[in-house]
């Protein structure tokens, strides 16, 4: 594959490598409380019969969406603790713990692969890494993903899954909102499609920047999507929140999403969407 050779620092990963799943492990759905054998749950892409979509990792999304092989882009970026930030813990310690626990470098993974033979770059947020919070690394990796898309004329998809800005990078983190939004104007100028895919949860500075700026904004069912977190909104209005507030369905109803897509239809939907941009 020719597009493959252009990459300098890529890592190639074989997809669909079936993980060994021990018998006797069960998944209990937090929504309907049903208990499902983990094998069945994985086969259902971690979606319960009741419609509950369990959070999944970036790697799992890549495996679902990409045809097979994909190449990771800028895998070696790490946070540098520019403010020597410390609260009850040192930021450097938080980073180290997260890196060891998740085997990830930061809260986003970017990869180039094919969806039904069509090129796509996906930047997917890692919620398990400090709540998927957006700091300098997230901003830079999205920025580089955009450069890569511009250079190679490939559509971009960002999978958001984040509590918002990374407080430990304070104003650096805030400016990633401006950085990513500014870079997206270049993609728009070049008329390269950008699909924003919002998953559970997408809040704060991520919602208030790239997550809401897709040529099309789509979401998984039942995801929490909002700017202010539900607890803050509740405190502000001093009342209980209406049922379904800030869910994907609510956000669709209020006009900020194009459609909601179930995980099992994700790949085909993206493939069709890409085709429609192209043909």
């Amino acid at each position: 594959m020719k597009w493959f050779n252009r990459l300098k620092k890529g890592i190639t990963t074989e997809t669909k490598e079936k993980k060994e799943i021990k018998e006797g492990l069960w998944f209990k759905c937090p929504s309907c409380k049903k208990v499902i054998p983990i094998n069945d749950h994985v086969k259902n892409l971690k979606v319960c019969d009741c419609g509950y979509h369990q959070k999944i990792s970036s790697k799992e999304y890549f495996d679902i969406i990409f045809d097979g092989k994909y190449t990771e882009l800028s895998p070696n970026l790490k946070s540098s603790d520019p403010l020597t930030f410390s609260d009850t813990k040192k930021y450097t310690d938080r980073l180290k713990t997260s890196q060891e626990k998740t085997k990830l470098n930061d809260a986003i993974t970017v990869a180039h692969g094919k969806v039904n033979k069509q090129d796509l770059v996906i930047a997917s947020m890692n919620f398990e890494f400090i709540g998927g919070s957006m700091g300098s690394v997230v901003g830079e990796k999205i920025s580089r993903a955009i450069d890569y898309c511009l250079e190679n004329n490939i559509p971009l998809m960002i999978i958001s899954k984040s509590g918002g800005a990374r407080m430990m990078e304070a104003a650096y983190s805030l400016m990633q909102m401006a950085k990513t939004s500014a870079k997206l104007t270049l993609l728009a100028e070049a008329k390269i499609p950008y699909i924003s895919f919002l998953t559970d949860p997408t809040t704060g500075g991520v919602t208030a920047s790239y997550a809401m700026l897709g040529d099309i904004n789509i979401a998984e069912p039942g995801a929490l999507i909002g700017f202010a977190g539900p607890r803050v909104v509740k405190e502000t209005i001093g009342k209980d929140l209406p049922e379904g507030f800030q869910t994907s369905e609510f956000v669709l109803e209020h006009g900020f999403l194009d459609y909601i897509v179930e995980r099992k239809n994700l790949k085909e939907t993206i493939a069709l969407q890409l085709k429609m941009f192209k043909n």
């Binding site: 304070a170 500014a182 919602t207 909002g226 202010a228």
Partner: protein
Amino acid sequence: MILLDFEKPIEDLLKQLTKLEEVEKEGNIDVSSAKAELEKKINDKRKEITKNLTPWQRVQLSRHPERPYTLDYIKYITKGKFIELHGDRTVKDDKAMIGGFGDVDGKTVMFIGQQKGTNTKTRQYRNFGMANPEGYRKALRLMKLAEKFDKPIVTFIDTPGAYPGLEAEERGQGEAIARNLFEMSKLKVPVICIIIGEGASGGALGIGVGDVVIMLENTWYSVISPESCSSILWRSWDYKIDAANALKLTSADMKKNGLIDCVIKEPLGGAHVNPEKMFATVKTAIKKRIKELSELSKEELVKKRIEKFANMGEFIEE
């Protein structure tokens, strides 16, 4: 004058000054030399106090109830030649975000900014400077209007945050701010953003993407307020001072970290001690910056603006 806790050392001196001024009004005794001496004492004391202000004390100054707000700046800078424009053309007119054309010594400028109130009633009317989505959309409408007629834009930032209400969520607070970041990045006219008080998070940045971003000396700008940061990271409201230190939110830190372009010094004791002097300094800066930026082509202007923000961030590449 309302004094903050750390300004207490000048309280007695100010009282003495008020008394002297009363005596002076009666006109029987010449108090001019005593008054001058007292004023010098107050100045010296203020210098001493302001020399080593902590980040939290600067946060307090940024919220001083007598601090001038957006419309005060506009009124002075335009000498009253300002036409306020209302509404986002979709939902309503957001009173927390104001804007309109103003005359700056013969040159038309689009002014936009969050507006706080000065008493219980007007604070509520202005929603404490916390805009709803329609505020951000009104701001964008006015920016596009300025671009259409080739007028430079000046934004005054002073907000404790975008309003986190139920209706704000329904009407897409996140989308409204995101849209502004996107659109401001490519406006083909000079954009100057000045933080005149509080610069809290996305609510501030929502009108903060400019060619030149300026902070007044005693303002703060960060991703979260020290109080909220304390409550989230320390799980208690008691660590606001630690949070203010940790966030590096002062004008000096923001300049040092390359996240803003310039700091404007405030009059001794803060903008509220001598507002006219503050306004004059800000006006001079605005005129100078507009002149500089007007020399760039539209393409250069946009390219430089995007590059500036694209370069923000610190990371390691292994």
